[in-house]
Symmetry: C2
Subunit: 721 residues, 2 copies
Amino acid sequence: MTPLLYLVPVLGIVGLIVMFAKAGWVNRQDAGSSDMQEIANAIAAGALAFLKAEWRVLIVFGLAVAVLLAFSGTLVENSDWVIGVAFAIGAFISALAGYIGMNIATKANVRTSQAGRTSLAKALSVSFTGGSVMGIGVASLAVLGLGSLFILFYHLYVGETGNVNGLEMEKALEVLAGFSLGAESIALFARVGGGIYTKAADVGADLVGKVEAGIPEDDPRNPATIADNVGDNVGDVAGMGADLFGSYVATTLATMVLGREIVSTGDNANGIAPIALPMLIAGLGLVFSIISMAFVRVSDDNGSVQKALNIGNWGSIILTAIASFPLVKWLLPSGTMSIRGVEFVSEDVFHSILLGLVVGAIMSAVTEYYTAIGKRPVRSIVQQSSTGHATNIIGGISVGMESTVIPIIVLATGIFLSYKFAGLYGVAIAASGMMATTAMQLAIDAFGPIADNAGGIAEMSHLPEEVRGRTDVLDAVGNTTAATGKGFAIASAALTSLALFAAFCGTAGISSIDIFKADVLAGLFVGAMVPFIFSSLAIAAVGRAAMKMVEEVRRQFREIPGIMEGTAKPEYDKCVAISTQASIREMVAPGLIALLVPVIIGFLFGPEVLGGTLAGVTVSGVLLGIFQNNAGGAWDNAKKSFEKGVDINGTIYYKKSEPHKAAVTGDTVGDPFKDTSGPSMNILIKLMSIVSLVIAPHIAVQKHEASKAPVPPKVVLVAKK
Amino acid sequence: MTPLLYLVPVLGIVGLIVMFAKAGWVNRQDAGSSDMQEIANAIAAGALAFLKAEWRVLIVFGLAVAVLLAFSGTLVENSDWVIGVAFAIGAFISALAGYIGMNIATKANVRTSQAGRTSLAKALSVSFTGGSVMGIGVASLAVLGLGSLFILFYHLYVGETGNVNGLEMEKALEVLAGFSLGAESIALFARVGGGIYTKAADVGADLVGKVEAGIPEDDPRNPATIADNVGDNVGDVAGMGADLFGSYVATTLATMVLGREIVSTGDNANGIAPIALPMLIAGLGLVFSIISMAFVRVSDDNGSVQKALNIGNWGSIILTAIASFPLVKWLLPSGTMSIRGVEFVSEDVFHSILLGLVVGAIMSAVTEYYTAIGKRPVRSIVQQSSTGHATNIIGGISVGMESTVIPIIVLATGIFLSYKFAGLYGVAIAASGMMATTAMQLAIDAFGPIADNAGGIAEMSHLPEEVRGRTDVLDAVGNTTAATGKGFAIASAALTSLALFAAFCGTAGISSIDIFKADVLAGLFVGAMVPFIFSSLAIAAVGRAAMKMVEEVRRQFREIPGIMEGTAKPEYDKCVAISTQASIREMVAPGLIALLVPVIIGFLFGPEVLGGTLAGVTVSGVLLGIFQNNAGGAWDNAKKSFEKGVDINGTIYYKKSEPHKAAVTGDTVGDPFKDTSGPSMNILIKLMSIVSLVIAPHIAVQKHEASKAPVPPKVVLVAKK
C-alpha cells in the first residue's frame, strides 16, 4: 500500500472540522423572536419525529440484511462475514448524513428569516452556510468512511501478500461494496419516504388551503402548513443528503473495483494507483469545494444570487479539474495500461475526467433550459394553460418527454467517448470526476429548501413584506438549482450504474450480455418495467396520502371554531402524523422491489439475464427520471410565471385567472414527479446495480482467477480433418 | 417449390370475393332520411378529403423512397432493384386497405343509425358487417400480396436452382422485405396523421362545445362535430386498417425470413415448409375468421353484444389453433430441425403457436381489467377525481404505469418459452399464431368507430332517443374492444420486432448484440429515447391542432349569428380543413424520425450498435405503448362512470358535478395517449426493425454465406509454445 492513502481519511476529518466550525457559526446567528422560534421548533420537532419513525423501521430492516449478508459472505471465497458489518456502517453513516443535514437546516431556516430582516447578502450567507454544512458533512463522511474502511480491509485481506490485483484485493473491494449497499439502501428509503412525506403535505395543504379556502401559502391558519415545512426538511434535505452520500460512495467504489482490473507496469502507489485515484479525486474535490464556498456572496440587495452560486460552483469544478491533472500524471503509470483489452495512458484518464465534468455541465444546462421561466418549453405550457387543465397537462407531458432527447444524446456520447479514452475505467472515472465536487453541489442544492422554509417562517410569524421578498429571491434561485441538481444526479447515476454493471460482470464471471439471447432480452423487458411500477407506486402513494391530508384539513376547518379567524390554533401535529405514517408505510413496497428484483432474477436465471435486467432498469430509469424531473420543473415554473403576469394572445393573465388555475393543476401533478418518483430513479438504478454486485460472487458462472493472472498462451486455430 | 403455395393467393382472392359480397349487402341497407344522408355524405367527403391530402404527400415520399431503394438494391448481391417495386406495391396496398375500410365505414355508419330504429340486433349486424368488410379486406390483401409476390420472387431468384436455403432465397426474402417496408411506412403515417386528426377534432370539439358552450356531444350546432366524426373514420378506421395490414405482413415476413435459416432433413414442401408455414397459417386464420363471423349475432335488444363478439373471436382462435395442428404436423419435417443451434421438432412449433394465442389472450384480458368500468383501477381514478383535476391525473398516470407489470411479465415469459420451444423461429411463429385471426380482430375493432359514428348521426339528425340508446350500447362495447385490441397489437408487435430483429442480425452477419460494449449500450440509450420524442411530437401536435380548432369554433360562435339557436349552419368545412392541414403537417417529423434513425445509426456505427438501438426502441416502445393506451382507456372509462352516477365517500356524483369535470380533464389528456401516440408505438418499433432489415445487406459486417452452407470443419485449440 501507499502512505498517500492515509491522506484520504485525513481529508475527511479536516472536512468534518470545517463543518463543525460552520455549524457553530450558523448556531451563533440570531434566531429571531419567540414567535419565530416557536414555529421553527415545531418544524424541527416534526422533522425529528419523522426521522425517528423512519429509523425504527430501517433499523429492523438494516439488521436483518446485515445478518443475512454476513452469513452469505462466508459462503464464497471472494467475500467475508465482514461485509455485513460494512453494510451496517454504510447504513448508519447514510442516516447520519441525513440527520446532520436536517439538523442544520432546521436551525438555519429561522436564522435566515431573521437575517432577511437586515439584507439579502446576510440571508444568503446564513442559508448557504447552512447548505455548506450539509454538503461538507456528506462529502467528508463519504471520504472518511471509504478511505478508512479501504485501508482497514486492505490490511485485513491483502496485507503482507502484496497481491494488489488478485483475489485478496477482489475480496477487500467486495466487502467494501457492502458499505456502498448500506448507504444506497438507506438513501432509497430516505428519498422515497421523504419524497412521499413532503409531497403529501404540500399537495394536501395546497388543495384545501389555496384552492378551497383561498388562503395563501404558508398561512398559519392552514393545519397542514407545519407538515409542509417539515416536508422540505425531510424530503429535500435529509432525503437528498442520504441520496448524494450514496451516489458519491457508489461512484467511487465502482471506479475502484474497475481500477483493480487494470493491467499496468507499475505506478507511484505500489500498484494500486487506479484504485486510489477516485478516492484522491474525491478528496481534492472536497478541498476545492470548501475553498470555493468563500466565493459565494453578494454585496447587497441588488447582487445576483444565481451568479454568486455559479461562481462558487464553477470555481470548485475548474480548480478540481486543474489539480487532477498533475495528480493523474504523477500517480498513474507513465506507460500504457489496459483494461479488458482497451489500452490507454494516463492522459486518457484525465480526458475522461474532463469529459465527465463537461457532460455534467451540459446536462445541468439542458435541464435549466427546459425548466426555466421565459424559455420556450415553459412558455409553451403557459400558452396551453389558456385552453384549460387538460391542455396544460398535455403540454407538460410533451415537454418532459422532449427534454429527454439532448441529455440522452449527450450521455450516449459521453459513454462512447469515455470508453474510447480509457475503456470501462474511463466511463467510471468520468462519473467520479463529475461527482468530485459533491460538497459544493449539495451546498447549492440544500440552500434552496432552507430559504423556502425561511420564507414560510417569515410568513407565519408575520415579518415585514421585504423579508419575504428577500427569501423569495433565494427561493426562486433554489428552484433552478434544484432542477439542475437533478439533471446532474441522473447523469452521474447513469455513468455510475454502467461502471457498477461492468464491475458486476467482472465479479460474476461473464464477459458479454447478449440481448440477442431470448432470456436476456426477456430480462431487459422486465428490468425496463421496474422504474414504471416503482414510479407508479410512489406517485400513487402521494395521491393517497394527499387525500388523507385533505380530509384532515377539511375536518379541522369544519370542527375547530375560530380557526379561520385566527383565534384558534389548528392541530398541526395531526397533519404531521398523517404524513409521517403514510410515508413510512408507503416507502416499503418500492424499496423492496428495488432490493428483491435483482436477487430473484440473479438466482433464478443467472448473471447474464440479470445483466440484461440491469441494462433495462438503467435505460428506462434514466429516461423516466429525466422525463419526470423536467416535466415537474417546467409545470412548476409555468405556474410561477403567472405571478408577474403572462401574455397569452394579447391578454395579460395573473394569479387566480382561469389559465392560472390550469397551471396550478399542472404544478400539483408535477409535484410527485419532480420530488418523489423522479429523483428516486437515480438511486433505484444504482441500488439495483450494487445489489447485483454484492450477490455476484454467489451467482458467478464460474470460479475465475483475478484478471491480472499471467497472460494465457497464444492460441492458433488448426482445422481438424 | 410446392404447388401448395398457390393456395395462399387463392385464399386471398376468395377472401376478397367474400368481402365484396358483404360490402354489397351493407350498401343495400336502408341509408335513412335525406337529413341523415346529408350528414353522412359530409362525413364521407371530409374523410376522403383527408385521405387525398395525405396521399398527395405520401406519393412523393413513396416514390422517392422506392427509387432510392431500387438503386440501393443494385449495390449488394443479396438484394435487387425489384425491392423498390415491392416497396411501392406494399405502400399502395396499405393505402388501399385504409381506403377500403374508410369507404365501407362511411357507408355502414348511417345505415347502422337507420337499423338502430328497428332493433339492436339489426344495428349490430350492419355495423359488424361493415367492420368485417374491412377485416376481411385487409387480411385478404395481405395474404394475396405476400403469397403472389413470394411466388413471383421465388421464380425470379430461386427458380431452377432449387437452392431454397441459399443466397437465392435470401435475396427473394430481402426483396419481399421491401413490400413489408412499404406497408409499414404508410401505416405509420396513416396512424399518426389519422390519430392527430381525430384527436385534434375531438379535443377541440369537446373543449369549446361541452365545456364552454355547454352543448352535448355531436350537437349539430358545434362547428367541429363533422370533423370529429370524420376523425373516427380516418384515425380509428383507415389508420387502424393500414396499421394491422402492416403488422400482419411484417409478422409473416419475419417468420419466413427465420424459416429460411432452419436446418432440416426434408419436408413436404420441397424444403420450404418453414417459410411457407406462416403464410398458410395466415390463410387458415382468414378462412376461420370468415366462418366465425357468422356467430356474431344477438337475438334481440337484450342480447349481450360483448358475448356475441367474444364467441366470434374465440371461435376463430380455437378453430385456427385446431386446424394448425395437422398442418404443422404434415408440412414440417418429422425429424429434428434446428435454428442457430436450437433443436426442435414440429410439435414444438405447434406449442409456440398455442403460446402466442395464449399470450395475446392474456394481454387482452389484462388490458380489459385496467380499463373497464367498475374494476379497481378505474374506480381508483374515479375516487381521486373527488379532490380535483390534479389528483385525477396523478391517479391515471399511476394506473397506466402499474398496468405495464403483468403484460411485461407475460411477454417476457412468452419470449422465454417460445424460444425454448423452437428457438427464434418459435418466437416468430408465436407472433404469427397471434396474428392469424387478424380478419376477426379487425372486424371487432372497426365496428366500434362505425357504431360511434352511427350514434353521432342519430344525434345530429334528431332520431328518437331509443336509437341513440342502441348505438350507445354498441359504442360502449366498442370502447372495450378498442382497448383490448391495443393490448393485442402491442404484444404481437413486441414478438414481431424480436423476430425481425433476429432476421436483421442474420442478414447483417452479426451473431450477438453485446450491451456490455459501450457503443452498443449507447445505442440502447438512444433507441429507448426514440419512443419518448415520438410520443412528445405526437402529443404536442394534438395539443397545437386542438388549440387551433378551439379558436376556430370560438370564432364561429362569435361571428355567425343564429348558430346557437340552430337557425344558421356552422361552417363545418373550415374545421375539417384545420384538422386535415394540421395532421398532414405534423405527421412528417415523427415519421421521419422512425425512418431515419436506423439508417443513420446503422451506417455510422454498424449493425451491432443498431441492434442495441432496436432493442432500446422495442423495450421502451412497448412500455410507453402499454402505459399510454391503458392510462387513456382508464381515464375514458373513469369519465364514463359518471353517466350512471358514482359513489364517492357516500355521496353520489353525476355528470356536470365537480368530480366529473376533473374526470373530463383526465379523459382529454388521455385522448392523444390512447388514440395518437400510444397505438403508434407498435408501428414505430416494427417499422424501425424493418428499415434495419432492409438496410442490413448494406451494413453487414462481412459477406456471409447462407446459413445452410456446409458445416465448417471442427477446430481444436492448440497452445503455441
